[in-house]
């Protein structure tokens, strides 16, 4: 298991624990934890509705891949450590990290 902190759109922080051996993505864990994430495309890095910002964590965690940048750059706003949570595998890299939800409001 790995523990990290999630900050929702309103700034509330909560610790989340996730198993590392199930091949889950951060998006899937956030959805399962009832956070308001649309994940329209289901995890294909094609919609940017699972946008998060890494507030704290190892620097590699804050580095978006090319496929993510294709989406992020289309958004009205993104940040130096913006990621698509569907492209982040649950691993010990997330240990102690702080993740801010940046996806659009669901409603």
């Amino acid at each position: 298991m790995v523990k990290f902190t999630v900050e929702d759109q309103d700034g509330n922080r909560q610790e989340v624990e996730a198993p590392m051996d199930m091949g889950l993505s951060l998006m899937e864990v956030l959805k399962a934890s009832d956070y308001p994430i649309l994940a329209t495309c289901g995890g294909m890095a094609l919609c940017a509705t699972c946008h998060v910002e890494i507030l704290d964590g190892p620097s590699e965690l804050g580095e978006a891949t090319d496929v993510e940048l294709d989406q992020l750059e289309n958004l009205p706003e993104y940040y130096p450590t913006s990621r698509l949570s569907c492209q982040i595998r649950i691993s010990d890299q997330l240990d102690g990290a702080v993740i801010k939800l940046r996806g659009e409001d669901v409603v």
């Binding site: 649309l38 329209t40 495309c41 294909m44 094609l46 919609c47 940017a48 509705t49 940048l69 294709d70 750059e73 289309n74 958004l75 009205p76 706003e77 659009e104 669901v106 409603v107």
Partner: protein, 334 residues
């Protein structure tokens, strides 16, 4: 006014297949979708992605599935209103419904089926305080008719393919085109990007890189846009139009206002026939929810078949429905 038996809101895979199931029961369909093309998110988001869980297809590309569905429903001559969003449903005295879109298109139907997926795809908006004040008064998120911009000053914002494509197109039409992009480079199609740089070098457009929209102002209509670069320096550009192009994002939209029972952005239905709590309105596909719901295309197809048998009574109140296989009866075109 368009007259039909069944009005389907949403022309994604489930909405399209519903036409087939309706057609087998001799019910005509009209489909409305907010996107300018059919196929829903399959065509809009992942046309080239393979899907592996469509029965009978070990693998099929999303757009291919949509094309096949269009072929399959052709005998039943569905009609379409695309690029418009349904705003109002008004119940008529005889129980039927009048449907009105944001473009004031009216459809009269005996039954309504909501196959709206995740809602309607709406443009993402930049965070500007007074943006809404100028919507329709200079701020527009879509180029519907390029002639609107003839001999006008236009500022486009964004770095994706649509921002590049419209910049190239409008450079020929508008009096002045300015493209604002937050980065130094474009990730869109390299061809389009180099064309945009060429236009800028030739002085045919103004290209402002590493800058963001900061503010918009005007008096009753848009008059200027203020940009901010990375060093926080501001420039103000006089303009008639601002077109922010930051992609599309799904929103439940007006569906939330139709008096249906909604749980977590989905419409609650009765699994006996996928009816909503409101008579003559059904919901199928990703937009509905019930215990055990799976958001799969194949589940939406199943829901469409069951639901059409239930809707038959509203279209043919005096007839008894007898179930027939296509292997026995074939497909009887309209």
């Amino acid at each position: 006014m368009i007259q039909t038996d069944i009005c389907i809101i949403g022309a994604g895979p489930v909405g399209l297949f519903a036409v087939f199931e309706a057609g087998l029961l001799k019910m005509r369909c009209h489909l409305i979708d907010a996107l300018p093309q059919v196929g829903g998110q399959l065509s809009e988001i992942y046309p080239q992605k393979p899907i592996y869980d469509i029965p009978g297809y070990p693998e099929i590309k999303a757009q291919e599935l949509v094309d096949n569905l269009m072929e399959q429903i052709k005998p039943f001559q569905p009609t379409f209103t695309l690029g418009e969003r349904v705003d109002h449903l008004d119940k008529q005295e005889d129980g039927s419904y009048m449907i009105t879109t944001n473009e004031k298109t009216k459809v009269h139907a005996k039954v309504i089926i909501i196959a709206g997926g995740l809602g309607c795809f709406e443009p993402r908006k930049p965070a500007l305080d007074n943006l809404e004040e100028f919507e329709g008064k200079g701020v527009t998120y879509m180029v519907k008719n390029p002639e609107t911009f003839r001999d006008k000053r236009v500022v486009l914002a964004g770095g994706g393919d649509s921002a590049l494509d419209w910049t190239i197109y409008l450079a020929k039409v508008a009096k002045k085109v300015t493209l604002v992009h937050r980065n130094e480079t474009f990730r869109g199609a390299p061809d389009s990007a180099s064309k945009v740089f060429d236009l800028a070098n030739e002085g045919k457009i103004d290209l402002i890189l590493s800058s963001n929209l900061k503010d918009i102002s005007g008096n009753g209509k848009l008059e200027s846009v203020t940009l901010e670069d990375k060093s926080k320096a501001e420039i103000k550009i006089d303009t008639d139009y601002l077109i922010p192009l930051f992609g599309l994002s799904p929103k439940l939209g007006p569906i939330a206002d139709w008096g249906l029972s909604i749980d977590k952005n989905a419409i609650e239905v009765d699994t006996r026939d996928y009816s909503t709590g409101v008579e003559r309105i059904y919901a199928i596909g990703d937009i509905n929810t019930y215990p055990g719901k799976l958001k799969l295309i194949l589940c939406g197809f199943h829901e469409a078949a069951i639901m059409m048998h239930s809707a038959f009574k509203y279209v043919y109140p005096d007839q008894k429905l007898s179930f027939k296989y296509t292997t026995v009866n074939g497909v009887n075109a309209f």
